[in-house]
Subunit: 467 residues, 2 copies
């Protein structure tokens, strides 16, 4: 009987543990030994859920954990927590591992037949004075969430003014702004850009800013943070920008993330512009037979632009893991790429996008038309019909759909999925015009808002084509 | 200067008036005279909204009217209400018209350059004893709605037991059941079929029956109505089936509709199996140069089965009108066909389908696999995450998606749109598995329920393919 092969996974969250679990489903322990190494103390948790835990929508941290370490172990995965990998040796097919109990030193070599890199991303943390002060929090990991909740409790029990500053008005930033408003904080969101939500074009981001103002959230744009000011107790007291100072009992950083690929870089593995690992469609690191990578540490193929992009999102990470686990387990799977779909909410405002923004389309060398329409989530006469704005980009001449952005209330966000599928199918906006979408007064106007946009975009492509 | 051409439209609702309006946008009155003939007194109203008007969600009848007769006239459409067409003469390019003021007689001939048949559908009304008694109502037209509301007011003021029987458990039937429950009636729904909602497979229809029971709506299936019983006052008193009798102060008929194509039949125009007019992709009646047809009186191409089907739905009617008006107006448009999407709700239960049912797939000669999965509308840990069931059909060997049915609560119904687009694009269930759908905890689990179904269907196709 052949000895078991060994699969080593670095990173115990979505991508890594999905890969491990899927491989375990396909191969028995006698065929494949699976070792998963996790630096922290948690596995398979929903990082995307942390803002809702902080906001009180989710009451127990455990609810965010899909699979505990014990559950993984029971399924035959040798999971090692508080275990750091300090070096990759791709040619020697081994990694150097520093266990929690090992003390210092460089760690011990661990050989592998298959290596899975699922090292995730690290939050951007600018090197500003005061940025490490107590009261300044990231919201990337379970430990971040727990630490922020502790600060919230302290601040609340101290009955201070309870002001919070959120630095960065992306998804995490606006979700955290909502969470803190719900906790009774006065919240100011600072962002460098012209409008919040730079995952939208500025004309759509403006709607988000206006809606946030209506919720009592102040958004200061074109604000470059220069320092975090601390009080005599050493705790955060304010956030300074080039122009002003904003009082804060609490600062949350939501500045986005970068791929965590330091080890991969040192080992000479191929990285893209963002620093994310480059893989083939089977999620194998390019040029490497037995090294796989997935989740927030890789770049993925953007099907609309044809370029590789870094998109940190749990749903992609999970799919990557599924593909990797299937392939290591002896099956066959590929990850076809993404179209850049994202959906979020701040209070009852729903924000969604898929495909390319104007700036991204230009950067990809595309010429395009844009249209924006106003419609409602339900038939206009039906109770609860809420306004929504849909912006659509279509390629010049061909009329191929390039992107959709939606800002609206209940029922707006998930409408972006229609465009996401149309992008995957390379549909033209004219083909979209007559899509057979679900219609009934409680669900949609007679023409679904996405179809209204497609119809208008079709006309714009025709007009532009005449020139 | 050339004389204006004349466009005659028969039917003043969605398809007819969309055609008229779109042609008017493209041609000035001096180029194209547009005469629209409507038998009743209303134009461009939402028949789909009538249940919500009856239920009280929509308070004013006017809210259901998108464009009034006056508005159409102001836009240069010669709209004639209470005007019936009694004969078509396709070879003579003329129709015989009986105006409201004309008294009896066969009417006067009116010539046309373009004729648009938008005669709609008529509700099925079985020839049962008592079916014409006061208290028995259809819900097809504005007059039906008004008449039903009058009966409701009488019944309510009379403070009788307030029991209602709905005959037919399709979309209209279940929507009316909800409307009547909201009005405080005890409601019994009778249907011939094994389960309600025969637009779903019986295993999914069962979920609807169970949910309706939970809302206090009794559904009696396999019930063949034999008579409507009347009291001494001549009004409805009960509905009799082969097995039982159900007391009723009010009876609503929701038995579906048939294309209203008597005139077209007499004139020898081509009709399909359902009695609906057959058109080409430009919505021109097959074999006729200058006769167009759209809306509830036509059959449409079902893109999944390749067969013509009759589907009465305002959203299709509107699109047909748009295509017809564009073509008559000198532009170019085609209606590509439908995939059979429908969405509805009864109280907070959402019901959706697209593509083919098992029975339809079999009738189309297709071999297929089916899978059913349970998931939730949001991340499981997020408040308001509601269960939903998704059933998926995929073609044997090719894995092409054939149909999806969804029954769930808030956020379930419109998810069917993803499958509708995938059907239009002839996607396989494997291609669907990695679709980049919007993910965030308030909007979806990590794997959207549609993707979970696609993943399971992919596995089922593979297993079946091995045999």
């Amino acid at each position: 009987m052949a000895t078991a092969q060994r699969m080593v996974v670095i990173g115990g969250n979505a991508a890594g543990m999905s890969a491990a679990s899927q491989a375990r489903r396909l191969k028995r322990p006698g065929e494949l030994e699976i070792i998963a190494l996790e630096r922290g103390g948690y596995t398979s948790y929903s990082a995307c859920g942390i803002p809702y835990w902080v906001g009180g929508d989710v009451t127990a941290a455990d609810d965010l954990i899909a699979w505990t370490p014990e559950e993984h172990r029971e399924r035959g995965i040798d999971l090692r927590l508080h275990t750091e990998v300090t070096e990759l040796d791709p040619d020697g097919c081994r990694v150097r591992v520093l266990g929690g109990g090992d003390g210092g030193g460089p760690g011990k070599w661990l050989g592998y037949d298959h290596l899975v890199l699922a090292t995730g991303a690290r939050p951007l943390r600018p090197g500003l004075p005061g940025i490490e002060a107590p009261g300044v929090h990231g919201v990337q990991t379970m430990d971040d969430g727990r630490s922020l909740l502790e600060t919230l409790e302290e601040t609340e029990s101290a009955r201070t003014r309870r002001r919070a500053v959120v630095v960065g008005a992306g998804y995490i930033g606006v979700e955290m702004a909502e969470a803190l408003v719900r906790r009774g904080y006065r919240v100011t969101v600072l962002d460098r850009a012209e409008e919040p939500m730079t995952t939208l074009d500025p004309d759509m981001g403006r709607l988000v800013r206006e809606a946030m103002a209506g919720m009592g959230i102040e958004t200061v744009t074109e604000a470059a943070v220069t320092a975090v000011r601390t009080g005599e107790d050493g705790r955060v007291r304010a956030v300074a920008t080039e122009d002003a100072e904003y009082e804060a009992d609490l600062v949350v950083l939501g500045l986005g993330v970068r791929p965590e690929t330091g080890l991969a870089r040192e080992a000479g593995l191929p990285l893209g512009e963002s620093g994310g690992l480059l893989t083939d469609l089977a999620m194998r690191v390019r040029g490497r037979e037995n090294i796989w990578a997935g989740g927030d540490c890789v770049e993925v193929l953007d099907l609309v632009s044809g370029l590789d992009r870094h998109i940190a999102l749990g749903t992609h990470a999970n799919k990557h893991g599924q593909v990797i686990g299937t392939n290591i387990g002896g099956g066959y799977a590929t990850f076809p790429g993404v179209v850049g779909t994202a959906v979020s909410k701040v209070c009852d405002l729903e924000i969604a996008r898929t495909g390319l923004l104007e700036s991204q389309a230009r950067a990809a060398g595309l010429r395009f038309v844009t249209v924006t329409i106003e419609s409602t989530s339900r038939a206009g006469y039906y109770p609860g019909a809420a306004p929504m704005r849909v912006k659509m980009l279509a390629e010049h001449r061909t009329g191929r759909l390039l992107g959709v952005q939606i800002v609206g209330r209940e029922g707006a966000g998930k409408r972006v999925d229609v465009a996401a599928v149309a992008l995957s199918a390379s549909m033209t906006v004219e083909q979209m015009t007559f899509l057979d979408l679900g219609y009934a007064p409680p669900f949609s106007p007679l023409w679904d808002p996405v179809l209204v946009a497609a119809r208008k975009a079709t006309a714009a492509v025709r007009r532009a084509g005449a020139h």
